[in-house]
Symmetry: C2
Subunit: 414 residues, 2 copies
């Protein structure tokens, strides 16, 4: 029987993760509060807190003496335990965010990237440079860094760790070794979709519900899937590639090589293509940078209630994009049937408020039966770069796993 | 924290399920063999066997005395513990299959059904009649029936049990009460997709791998999804409705009301529609009954290597269907990324060998990266009606749960 079975070790690990989540959510809390919010027994909470305090992850911040009984200890994540870094290697930039061990943001740094430059040596050096600069600007000693997490598109996880890493960059295991050497710190790599799922699980709706999908809208699009409180990785670590599922068989060419993918319609370049189809001579068709285009589209849409009636081509572009997006999310709901779907990524931040109402209407209309009627579709409450935040969290999880505190599904350290 | 956590009770339950699976797979086995095949400790296996024997689920069939040591007991499922019935209420028939408690088929019975007749009272009476007839023909006393499982399309599971049952039939909780009264035996209802997933998990590839998708091809199409050895139900018990995800935005009308669904292309009526598009005057376009049409298509395709070169329109229909099916399975692989995909259902039995090679090629071509390259796509080894077999198994699981032996996700008994 190759079917995996949970062991009591996994359960201890899950209890620890629940306690960490509870402490993180609360900011400051007590053992009793954690027992209440997690449903764990007070004895289990006491044991787990002891382990986490021994490792310096959680610390007592003060003792409150009441009229009767023993004093109550207030507990919090121990921010000074060290720092973690999450890095989003996107098409057009590399963004690195540093967090303390309580996952408060300490600093961040972005470098532009030439999207046509995918030679491993250049990308590796770019990542290394950003890490060095972030350590310098935040005055962080290397010894204080618990881990660095790097999001790379298309990490394929094998039994012995990641192998093919970025197929369309020609990256393999050897380039990972180079990256580890250049960064010179405990390193994990994972897929951006696993990153956004982790961010949603730790900081967003994952705190309240056990099955959710979080959708990243940017140049590329994809879905992070959480089922029963666990991230769906898939047999080859490539679950969630909803951006490359079909919207239209034999439709628009997608940069992945397939035709008709969701991404070719609701990725930023796809949205620009929709505008081009509607109004080939519209000035926004020629905006070069994708975020500039999406921002300009949102600004033009914002004038919809102007006396002139606004820019019809822009309104039609947004209406069609909402139709595409609602239809494609309905497919995801048909297959996975989550409790909630959240939207994240820079297209969401810029254009989300204009897209959301019509997207929701199309979704409810098209999802099977009434499966989307009571389902929440909302902008993620995890703000900022959730890929970087997610990868920093994965690096922290990896650190906790190496300390023997977690055993849940984690990318193999390099 | 609403994220569910496994308890030690769940783990005991999973160990019991693993032991049952191991005994079922082996036919006859020993405690040592079960420990080896499940990876459970001999002590755990001994404890679990004791519980299963106390409940009469497993029995010792003989004792083998070796030269040294204690005699070895041979164990098997206790077929005489009772019987379970699984019922597939399909568009055009009601099929009931009876199994003994070792899940050997004891008898089966099919009644035709008028697909336009969905009045609850008629459907309920039809199901009741089939159960009565099956009990009579197999000489089974009502007291010997451990449970009856009925597959109904679209069961919506709420916290307090199933509510809306068959939306497009107008069935609600009250019709379920009527069904329970008419059948007069311990009853569970579930969705056909959960049934085929259960059948694959107990009798097919689920014995060897932990994440799989099994696709039902018939009048309707859908996917049963197993992740980490557990069936994906979804927030409203409607996961796996891949048949109603998009193949072509704004494409063919689907009977669900949406346009362009996968089912409208690879369900049996969809395949006939493809032939109609290719050759409107082809004689097979007018074949009335769907299984007759698919059987005739397979027979005509079988003559492909005849000297005449065979029926070009039929070959083109099969080639397009394989393209549709491979593309749609690629979407499922993109999102879920399973280890294996199996095909089941009567269209598969009739046409699978003609469809599979080209479907596999399209799938590998279109799934993201290399995610389908090493993935198995195969006809399910679970033969016969896997909806009925799956529901009978769910009824047995329900019986075991009521006996306190299982706690895994189960449909609520009525």
């Amino acid at each position: 029987m190759a079917v995996p079975r949970r062991t009591s070790r996994d359960i201890r690990s899950e209890s620890r993760l629940d306690v960490i989540h509870a402490v993180l959510s609360a900011g400051e809390t007590t053992r009793n509060e954690v027992a209440r919010s997690t449903g764990l027994s007070p004895a289990t909470v006491a044991t787990v807190m002891g382990e986490l305090m021994a490792e310096g992850i959680v610390a007592e911040t003060r003792l409150t003496v009441g009229r009767v009984g023993r004093p109550t200890a207030t507990l919090a994540m121990n921010a000074s335990r060290g720092r973690v870094v999450g890095i989003d290697v996107a098409e057009t930039y590399v963004r690195a965010i540093m967090f303390d061990a309580a996952l408060n943001q300490v600093g961040s740094l972005e470098e532009p990237r030439d999207e046509h430059e995918v030679a491993p040596i250049v990308v590796v050096e770019g990542i290394g440079r950003v890490v060095d600069a972030l350590l310098a600007t935040t005055g962080t000693a290397r010894a204080d860094v618990l881990g660095v997490g790097v999001a790379l598109p298309g990490v394929v996880q094998g039994a012995s760790g990641p192998s093919v890493v970025v197929p369309h960059w020609g990256w393999h295991r050897v380039e990972l070794d180079r990256l580890r050497d250049r960064v010179g710190l405990p390193l994990v790599v994972d897929n951006p979709l696993r990153a956004i799922a982790t961010a949603e699980l730790w900081f967003g709706r994952g705190r309240e519900c056990s099955s959710l999908v979080t959708i990243n809208l940017g140049t590329g699009v994809g879905a992070g899937i959480v089922l029963e409180g666990r991230i769906l990785r898939g047999a080859t670590n490539s679950a969630g590639e909803w951006g490359h599922s079909l919207l239209v068989l034999d439709g628009r060419e997608c940069r992945c090589g397939r035709r008709g993918c969701v991404e070719a319609y609701v990725g930023a370049p796809g949205i620009q293509e929709t505008l081009r189809e509607i109004a080939p001579d519209h000035p926004l068709v020629d905006v070069d940078t994708q975020p500039d285009f999406i921002a300009a589209l949102a600004a033009a849409a914002g004038r919809a209630d102007a006396p002139s009636g606004g820019d019809k081509a822009v309104q039609e572009t947004i209406a069609r994009t909402a139709y595409y997006l609602g239809s494609a999310i309905a497919d995801l709901v048909a297959v996975v049937n989550p409790e909630v779907v959240t939207l994240t990524g820079w297209t969401t931040w810029l254009l989300g408020e204009h897209l959301l109402p019509a997207t929701r209407a199309h979704l409810v209309d098209q999802a099977p039966g009434r499966s989307a009627a009571d389902m929440a579709l909302e902008v993620s409450t995890v703000r900022g770069n959730s890929v970087a935040a997610g990868l920093a969290t994965i690096a922290l999880e990896r650190f906790l796993a190496d300390a023997g505190l977690l055993t849940t599904q984690l990318p193999t350290a390099l």
